[in-house]
Amino acid sequence: MNDPDSLLESLPLDPHQLCMSLTRTIDRRGALQIGLFGTAGLLGGNAFAAGAAPATASTPKPPATPAVPAKPKPDARATSVIQIFLWGGMSHSDTWDPKPDAGYDYNGPMKKFLSSNVPGIQLSEWFPNLAKQADKYSLIRSMTHGNNGHETAAYLVQTAHAPGDRLAYPSVGAVFAHMKEKEYRGSLPPYVVLTKPQGRFSEEGFLGAKLKPFATGGDPNAARFEVEGIVSRNINDARQTARRDLLKNLDTLRKSVGNTPIIEASEAARTEAYEMILGKGREVFDLTKEKPELRDRYGRHTFGQDCLAARRMVEAGVPYIVINYPGGWDTHSNHFQTMGKQAPELDQGLAALLADLNDRGMLETTLVWCCGEFGRGPKIDWQPPWNGGRNHHGKVFSVLVAGGGFKGGHVVGASDAKAEEVAERPVYPVDLLGSIYQLAGIDGHASLPHPMGLEARVLPTETKKEESGGLLTEIM
């Protein structure tokens, strides 16, 4: 992408600001409705206490299940999560929520649409592999939060908290790592990012450095997947060991200081690091241990091999893995060219991952979710400099969920005829993350430790009037 936002900047048009105005309009409208209903006594307090503030008047009543159930179900099934983050914001109308009848200004050059193996579920032409196995996943076509800024939307989608108070919440991955800290015995970090960190916000939030995601670096599609810090390029084990002994020998201050708490904590961390450098854990990253045919099926590109590496990490027990999609999807310009290249790779890698997990009997316990921080404007921007690009679109977008207790073969909610607004059953970040937490046996009400002792919970508390359409009970 050729710095599309640089062009944005030269115009009196700011997606961040546009989104803010948008949020405000919705806020006001929502508040107004609350006010009206409140005075008229049409709705009891409970509906709002559950956080149900409809985004538009035409929106049907959301399901009654609040997004933050009191207790997670005892039959929690998801032990690991793979989050495929389509950062930058992948178009929903060109992919998983196609509108064949929307016309040229919406679909541009897209002409072919694929029917899947589940009647009624249609995908765009770039997803032949996923179309063959729609029974393994479900699509949410009514995901919404109304925010069009990368940072704010990325924060919303991955924390379910609205930004703006003293608390900077941790991402869902950091919450997982924190909650699984006691039971997790693996030798790899509990929260791994393939391959590059996103840096849109601090994923560890107030939980501190220990819960920062470990970014692998390197390229799993290269001859050797050099995981930064774990798999060294040119230092063999003999030299590693010799260096370690030398270091121990020359750590003179440490010897003089003795065992203070600070030194002990640091030494423990160093020991942990050496277990990764010299131990068995690193074999996870040796993708040459897989059959070449299987590697081919995942696709010989970074994303495909990311998916394969993620599966191997799940086998090693890593609770939370994020694949930050290489290159991202911020297609303000060169939209259809980029999509034509990337979407088939996404299709190949993701379809192979789901099939492979299924073949190994791991899909039951491995939850996969895949979306960006928002979708993209379904109406094409033909004007220069976009020349057929799509802009940020937080009003409605699509999410793919699979495994870990999510049913396959379903569509949740719907967008309108042109994929511009939610038509039915809005799903907000709190609903999606609430469902994921529930399936993983994490209590959405649980307190998180805040360094200043402030009250902080996994999900927003009901009294905060967060927008919610309810848990995804349809597919759980």
């Binding site: 710095d3 003293r166 840096g199 030398l246 003089s256």
Partner: protein, 666 residues
């Protein structure tokens, strides 16, 4: 540095008239006695018999005392099998101590016999391990800070020691300007014979340097949350302007009360008037949100525990702030807006400046909403001390608040900054946490805090006066070797507390050593921001401009402005990066810094010494020279010009870079 002379002014430990001949042996003995006492009181019956045995080993003069005085023939350097004195003693004590002892690391394995002869000639000027970190000079404890600290230590029998010159030069550089001293700077200081004044002179020089303002600008950037995007949205050029104003204020040593007043009362454009960005760099721009941030930043108080009315009373001072966009992209005026014009149709709402909103009527659905009419502001405000004040027309309430705040009589203002300054230099506040002043969280040394406050007021809020007082105290110059294992003594400042280097200082130091640079970027907004290579990380003004290293090593997220937002915790992933990343390995192997040191044709000991001075800011001890030579396979018959293989030198540099001594302030 000379090895420790036998006679020193240090308080002597007397045991039956016997006095161990060397400093390290005395240290060991003192350690031993402490353990013995614990053991005696703890496990009396069982302990007595065992303790009796332990008396023998250290008390009887060892036939082979390892630390050798300077003039001993280098040929007589003990064989590598001889256990270093400290370690030896520790092992003995551990064995004999009936109290469950902490594990002691095994003695270093002497892999190859080090060369005792020619190569060791330089070693005669090398310090012994024990004198590396502590100075033999006697404590004077003359200044007020020292007296007040000592008053608490004495009853506990804790005897601190001064740090060595080598430790001091590194510590002072890192603490005062956030820069690692170069090998030449470290050596010049260590060799400076004027021991009476050299520390004081160094402190003065560092306080007057340009780097001082840059480094402390980073600190203030954290506290003031200087960041272009998310969750603080200053926008890049406003973040830069704000940061430049902070650094300029520090460089001119602007009195602290004036510095704060300028921020609290500023009006104007975010692109032209740096300090107005104080009111924009807020987690929340509601009057309550602003009041909370003001209390945290300038009073060291967390309002989360306040009763609602108290916060409401204070927030009245910040209820008349207006934010207004201009036709310039992302420009925003912060101004006193008593008429509430910014909330009228045609103006943008607080914090939501946008050019599209100018001239566009505000969308108001339904009849009368509060937004349809100018806001009415509270006429009454309450200072956090409970004093009520009526806000007069024609007076900016922010000024009323600022004048109350910066008065020397204010119970929080001076105390907050005095306590924070202490915490920044000493690693821990007199009130801990440093931004949690509360009646039920009293200072560890009330008199000392009161003294610092008085000094600061007396110096008209000259912060450097406070820095100077602390840095020149012996308390600041204590060694970091722990002097007491008793719980709670870390709050009594008996030893300088070790802290891991901040992310920015750490990478700057690695770059300085290896002669390399980093790429710092911000993806917000596009086109991406790139900082010129070679600019140190501490000088980056905008928290949105970053690198994965800075994020991994706990750089502040600048979201809340609390002291603990920056974390210097050591976690496994950081070790992975330092021990084994290609990022650091490339710097060592390919950077010009280490290459130049190891390529120079000279005796191996000189190369090793150069590596030590460059990385650890000190000379190697004899044992370290021996271990380094052994690793590099340098035998006694060293051929000039032909030294170790590059990867061996590289591993040596790598090892020094991964010591706790490098990674921590100490």
């Amino acid at each position: 540095m000379k090895p420790d002379p036998i006679s020193s002014g240090r308080p002597r430990v007397r045991l039956g008239g016997f006095f161990p001949p060397t400093y390290s042996a005395r240290l060991a003995l003192r350690k031993f006695i402490r353990r013995l006492l614990i053991c005696l009181s703890g496990v009396l019956l069982w302990g007595l018999s065992h303790a009796a045995e332990t008396v023998k080993s250290p008390a009887v003069p060892s036939p082979n005392p390892a630390p050798v005085p300077a003039k001993v023939n280098p040929l007589a350097v003990p064989a590598p099998k001889a256990i270093p004195p400290e370690k030896g003693t520790a092992t003995v004590t551990t064995k004999a101590n009936p109290v469950p002892a902490k594990p002691v690391p095994p003695a270093p394995k002497p892999e190859v016999k080090p060369a005792p002869a020619k190569g060791a000639t330089v070693a005669t000027s090398s310090p012994t391990p024990a004198s590396l970190f502590e100075s033999p000079a006697a404590l004077k404890m003359e200044c007020r800070i020292d007296q007040l600290v000592m008053a608490r230590l004495k009853p506990l029998g804790v005897r601190p020691a001064l740090c060595s010159d080598a430790v001091f030069v590194r510590r002072a550089y890192l603490d005062v300007i956030g820069v690692l001293p170069s090998a030449a700077e470290a050596k010049a200081f260590i060799d400076d014979p004027d021991t009476a004044t050299k520390r004081k002179r160094l402190v003065d020089r560092l306080l007057a340097s340009d780097e001082f303002a840059v480094y402390w600008g980073m600190k203030w950037g954290d506290l003031l949350r200087i960041k272009a995007e998310f969750p603080i949205n200053l926008w890049p050029n406003a973040a830069q302007l704000y940061h430049r104003w902070v650094v300029a204020s520090l460089a001119e040593n602007k009195p602290y009360d004036q510095f704060v007043r300028e921020m609290l009362t500023a009006s104007g454009s975010n692109f032209r008037v740096g300090p107005v960005n104080f009111y924009r760099a807020m987690p929340s721009r509601t009057p309550e949100g602003i009041a909370s941030t003001v209390a945290l930043t300038f009073m060291g108080v967390r309002t989360e525990g306040w009763p609602k009315e108290k916060l409401a009373g204070m927030s009245s001072f910040f209820a008349q702030i207006g934010y207004k966009p201009t036709s310039e992209w992302k420009e925003e005026y912060v101004f006193w807006d008593p008429a509430g014009t910014h909330s009228l149709a045609g103006n943008a709402a607080p914090g939501r400046a946008s050019i599209e909103e100018i001239g566009k009527p505000l969308v108001i659905e339904g009849a009368a909403t509060p937004e349809g009419a100018p806001a009415t502001y509270p006429q009454q405000a309450i200072f956090p001390d409970g004093t009520k004040v009526t806000l007069r027309d024609g007076q900016d309430p922010r000024e009323v608040f600022a004048d109350w705040l910066i008065s020397p009589k204010n119970p929080w203002f001076t105390r907050n900054i005095a306590n924070r300054t202490w915490a920044w230099l000493m690693g821990r506040g007199l009130v801990h946490e440093a931004d949690d002043l509360r009646d039920d969280n009293p200072p560890s040394h009330p008199e000392l805090l009161a003294y610092l406050e008085k000094e600061l007021v007396g110096a008209n809020y000259d912060l450097k006066h406070l820095y100077r007082l602390i840095l020149n105290s012996e308390t600041y110059q204590f060694s970091s070797l722990p002097k007491s294992s008793k719980k709670g003594t870390e709050a009594l400042f008996a030893a300088y507390p070790m802290r891991r280097l901040e992310a920015e200082v750490l990478i700057d130091s690695i770059n300085r050593i290896t002669g390399t640079t980093e790429l710092y970027t911000s993806p917000i907004p596009e086109p991406f921001t790139y900082i010129p290579q070679g600019q140190p990380a501490v000088s980056i003004g905008d928290g949105s401009i970053t690198s994965s290293f800075l994020s991994l090593f706990g750089r502040s997220a600048r979201a809340t402005g609390t002291e603990d937002e920056r974390t210097n915790l050591v976690v496994a992933e950081q070790w992975l990066h330092l021990l084994n990343s290609s990022h650091v390995q490339d710097k060592l192997e390919r950077g010009p810094g280490i290459k130049a040191i190891v390529a120079a044709k000279r005796p191996a000991n000189e190369t090793i010494t150069a590596l030590y001075l460059t990385i650890l800011s000190r000379h190697p001890a004899r044992e370290e020279l021996a271990a380094a030579r052994a690793y590099c396979g340098i035998g006694a018959e060293e051929k000039p010009g032909k030294t170790a293989r590059p990867e061996h030198w590289n591993d040596l540099a790598w090892a020094l870079l991964n010591t706790h001594e490098f990674l921590f302030r100490h």
